[in-house]
Amino acid sequence: MMRLYTAPVSSAARRVEIACRLKGLEFERVLIDLAEEKAAAAGYRQVNPQVKVPSLEDGAVRLTQSLAILEYLEEAYPAVALLPDDAVGRARVRALALVVACEMHPLQNSWVVLYLSQDFGIDATAGDDWQRHWIVAGLEAIEARLVGDAVTGVYCHGDRPTLADCCLAPQVWNALRYAVPMVPYPTTRRVYDACLARPEFAEVLG
């Protein structure tokens, strides 16, 4: 059985969990205490040299980096497709996923804020502003890509969830947790709500 290493509230790990559920894949969930593991000499570091989550073990294959895992799952378990067939559609879905994974999440995540606080003395208010700034910039970008595009359906792309939704939903969950108003992003909000209406998302995002 596949083994997924995850941590509480890890946006990146949640992307993979959602994708596994959408594909109907069974997996063993291993919860990692990242702070403890970072301090440890070995252990989880053997699985993931960055000491981050998610990591996935599938037989002899060991993977890190959520987007690499998502692409692997798409190729290894194609029955429930999370990418459309056409090149234009695939580029669109991947670009949406990348707005989250390259422009929002890397900047707003907790260890970045911790680094700002510990190494540069940035206070909590400025840290919050920092997080919201990158989340808002990303939400604006996503809304611009979704709104008025005929290909946007119930979900980011058409009427079935794709990798874009797997990435977007945990990020919007974060945005809501940081009290980012979603009123300026109605299409994004609608897509998020549609995702949360599905058990594959609701079970992960609670």
Partner: protein, 212 residues
């Protein structure tokens, strides 16, 4: 095929390399990032985020360099920049993504500007920030490269691939910001091997027609 590029955009540099490796002809359109050309109405029409690069290939208008690289790989499969086996593909993507998600997004221009303008960080502090993320990412990449028999002349085996495509521009940036790379001999070796090849050399920022 048309590529909207800026000589020093790391993301554009990745796509230039990939296009060269695949022997694809294209027209380059130069968008001057520091002069704000990416915010022109024309460019925003094409790429609403005003980011670089954008690739236009027939009806495909693709942004986000990693999505562009995936598009090129699927549409122009020869020569391949990903190996055939699942574990190999995952490994190459993992290496590329450490650069693409864990290093570069934290060090690009808009972030450095925010650090300076909003958080009042001085140049030396911004440099310290910059070095931190390079070191975090390169430490992981160096370990992954050094500890695997799958590493060859290049990141994965003996032909360049997606990992090299992403790594070389990141090394260029690290050098530009004077990060000490002595702790990453495998990265340096691979970087040199790549730069010895025309597809990489011809994509380098300093030899682009819009270089300053």
């Amino acid at each position: 095929m048309k590529l909207y590029t800026y000589f020093r955009s790391s993301a554009a540099y990745r796509v230039r390399i990939a296009l060269n490796l695949k022997g694809l002809d294209r027209e380059d359109a130069y968008i001057h990032l520091r002069e704000g050309a990416q915010r022109s109405a024309d460019y925003l029409n094409l790429n609403p985020q005003g980011l670089l690069p954008t690739l236009v290939d027939g009806e495909v208008v693709a942004g986000q360099s990693l999505a562009i690289l995936d598009y090129l790989e699927e549409t122009y499969p020869e020569p391949p920049l990903l190996p055939g086996d699942a574990a190999g593909r995952a490994r190459v993507r993992q290496l590329a993504l450490i650069v693409g998600c864990d290093i570069h997004p934290l060090n690009n221009l808009k972030v450095l500007q925010y650090l300076g303008r909003e958080l009042g960080l001085e140049a030396t502090e911004r440099n310290r920030w910059y070095h931190h993320w390079v070191n975090e990412g390169f430490t992981a990449i160096e370990a992954l490269l050094r500890e695997s028999a799958a590493t060859g002349e290049f990141c994965h085996g003996d032909v360049p691939g997606l990992a090299d495509v992403c790594l070389v521009p990141q090394v260029y940036n690290a050098n530009r910001f004077e990060v000490d790379l002595a702790a990453y001999p495998t990265i340096l070796r691979i970087n040199q091997a790549c730069l010895a090849l025309d597809p990489f050399a011809q994509a380098a920022p300093d030899v682009q027609p819009d270089a300053e």
